[in-house]
């Protein structure tokens, strides 16, 4: 009997790899199309599972019609003008703005985590509280957030900050602790000061891992952002989805969800590329 070929060492050809990696996409799409077709045969006005044509139509409508009814649709306008006034673009801008504000607020969290990891007094001061805060389910504190930050932009961004920063702080803290103590001692003997060690020795080494950790938390950021927009808002991608749900506008909701997935994927990809460019020595990403 010949020795069994270990599957772990298999080297599938490029064609098979590509085919396998797309199989579930195709299967999912087929399953959807089959269901949609079956439901439409039974009820031609079905809105739960729109056909591709309906979704394309719905998405064109969302991209090219203005959410404000004061824009006169009969007035001539170029496609670009119509798109820039369309609800898809406006919603994306509103959500994108909130998203980047909250991403910017994650940077202080990284700095805090770094200091907690390196400076024992800072660690002693914050660690226990952040550990506790990390376990708080931010969504259940909404009424308090409303009282403290109103119901406008600030409360939505704070919801993300409260929900995601503790994770980032603790992760940076742990990463900062993994840097060998010998390196710190060595830097001191070479004449470095506290902040040289913190920013030029430790932060520089852990930065690619911190970026990875933020990348993994993108979805949490988006989840909190969507929750905030669904609770109280006048624009944004999740606002539109919440409104459309009231009359089963799945022909727009499904493309919107795919659009959000695409945007998130692009942000993730961009962060990965930046990480690779900035830290060519880092091989884990």
């Amino acid at each position: 009997m010949s020795t069994r070929f270990p599957l772990i060492s298999a080297k599938p050809s490029r064609l098979i790899t590509v085919a396998l990696s797309w199989f579930l996409f195709v299967a999912g799409a087929c399953l959807y199309l089959y269901t949609a077709a079956a439901r439409h045969r039974e009820n031609p006005e079905d809105r739960v599972t729109p056909t591709i044509g309906q979704m394309v139509h719905g998405m064109f409508g969302a991209a090219l019609t203005s959410p404000d009814q004061d824009v006169d649709p009969t007035q001539p306008a170029t496609v670009v003008q119509r798109f820039s006034r369309g609800m898809l673009w406006k919603d994306t801008l509103a959500t994108g703005r909130r998203f980047f504000y909250s991403m910017a607020l994650l940077l202080p969290a990284v700095v805090l985590g770094l200091h907690m990891g390196l400076f024992p007094y800072v660690g002693a001061f914050f660690l226990r509280f952040v550990l506790f805060f990390d376990k708080i389910i931010a969504l259940s504190l909404l009424p308090i957030l409303f009282i403290a930050f109103g119901i406008d932009e600030l409360s939505k961004i704070m919801l993300i900050v409260v929900g995601v920063t503790p994770t980032i702080i603790l992760d940076t803290f742990n990463l900062a602790r993994t840097v060998p103590g010998e390196q710190v001692v060595k830097a001191f003997t070479l004449g470095a000061g506290d902040f040289d060690v913190a920013y030029r020795v430790v932060l520089k080494q852990i930065w690619p891992r911190v970026l990875n950790s933020i990348r993994l938390n993108l979805k949490a950021v988006m989840l909190f952002l969507f929750a905030g927009e669904m609770i109280a808002s006048t624009d944004g991608l999740a606002y539109r989805i919440a409104l459309l749900r009231r009359h089963m506008g799945m022909d727009v909701i499904i493309p919107y969800v795919l659009w959000v997935a695409l945007l998130l994927f692009l942000v993730d990809l961009a962060m990965r590329l930046v990480n690779r460019k900035l830290h060519p020595w880092f091989r884990e990403s």
Partner: protein, 355 residues
């Protein structure tokens, strides 16, 4: 020979009814003064008694409002409680023909427009207004502005879509929002705060926000007749309970307290909500309202609102695409596109004691 076949047939028929499962149906309800009775109907055994009488099984399930509509449209449940507006813009507009078999009540003050600092309705332009958009709340606001001759100012009010689970705290804690449209018991909770007054309520548009029990038309028309038995059982049970609710004294209070329990509410609070709910306690009153010209007039307003706000779906080119049929067989909209029916025949049977 003939006799033997006959006997055999009888035997077969007997055995098949004995062994076949009873047809089973699910009714979905959500918390609202006029719908919480379903909780008691199921718990007290009244519904089971009527279901047994008609040889069917009826399950009762509590939902949040929006998911109950989703479940009904997805055909996961057979009957559901909803307002006339949602019956039109959710199932009917999604191509799920729907029949209203019970007109339970109309909101007679349950929904209200509240403001801070003694604002007047003409001052709302440019101010922040919290509400759940594209629901009866926006309808109420639309009607309030229209009836005060401020229709052209509707677009100047900054509507903020706010989830009903957070709307009370959001409004109370954010002093920059000037107005809110919501419903009881949230309205009572908000009104307790100083400096908040009610500008407009559904008591000024009686009969426009109706609370119905609807059944999918294809369920109602099942060839085995079980759908009609469902409608009869629901109607019978409903009016038996209405009789108990409308009474006075400790026995009625006991029933009301048990109903209130269905929404974790107190007897006092529930009575307060009922005071602004015009219940049709008798089938006569419901039939009378259901066959009046009034109903058609109100539905004309509602369907126009739904169409203007795009709630009838992007495929609907005209308000007539989702048509409504009334008990006298008249139709609003295209006769070949009837999606919502008001059927008073079961309530009529209740008036004649034929259930």
């Amino acid at each position: 020979m003939l006799r033997r076949t006959f006997l055999l047939l009888i035997l077969l028929a007997g055995s098949s009814t004995a062994f076949a499962e009873k047809p089973s149906f699910t009714v979905g309800w959500s918390v609202y003064a006029g719908w919480t009775p379903y909780h008691y109907l199921a718990r007290s055994g009244i519904l089971r008694k009527w279901a047994d009488k008609y040889g069917i099984t009826i399950k009762v399930q509590r939902f949040d409002y929006a998911p109950s509509l989703d479940a009904f449209v997805a055909k996961n449940i057979d009957a559901c409680t909803m307002t006339n507006m949602e019956a039109l813009d959710m199932p009917a507009a999604s191509g799920v023909p729907t029949t209203a078999i019970l007109i339970g009540d109309y909101s007679n003050g349950n929904d209200a427009l509240l403001v801070r600092n003694g604002l007047q309705i003409k001052d709302l332009s440019g101010k922040k207004l919290l509400l759940v958009q594209k629901t009866v709340s926006e309808y109420l606001f639309d009607r309030a502005m229209t009836m005060n001759g401020l229709r052209d100012q509707i677009k100047q009010v900054r509507l903020i879509n706010t989830s009903d689970s957070d709307i009370a705290t959001a409004f109370l804690s954010d002093a920059s929002s000037s107005a809110v449209v919501t419903w009881k018991p949230l309205v009572s909770q908000i009104l307790k705060q100083k400096g908040i007054t009610s500008l407009f309520s559904s008591s000024q548009i009686p009969g426009e926000i109706l609370d119905l029990t609807v059944v999918r038309t294809d369920v109602l028309n099942r060839p085995d007749g079980a759908g009609q038995r469902l409608a009869k059982a629901l109607t019978g049970a409903w009016y038996e309970l209405m009789g108990q609710m409308s009474g006075t004294g400790p026995s009625a209070d006991k029933v009301l307290a048990a109903i209130a329990e269905g929404s974790e509410d107190t007897l006092e609070s529930y009575k307060q909500q009922l005071s602004t709910t015009k219940m049709f306690y008798t089938p006569q009153s419901a039939v009378q309202f259901g066959s009046s010209a009034d109903l058609k007039q109100k539905m004309a307003l509602v369907r126009q609102f739904c169409f203007d706000h795009g709630l009838l779906g992007s495929n609907s080119q005209s308000v007539d695409d989702v048509a409504i049929a009334f008990p006298d067989a008249s139709v609003q909209g295209k006769p070949d596109r009837v999606r919502l029916r008001f059927d008073t025949s079961y309530m009529q049977m209740a008036t004649q004691g034929k259930l």
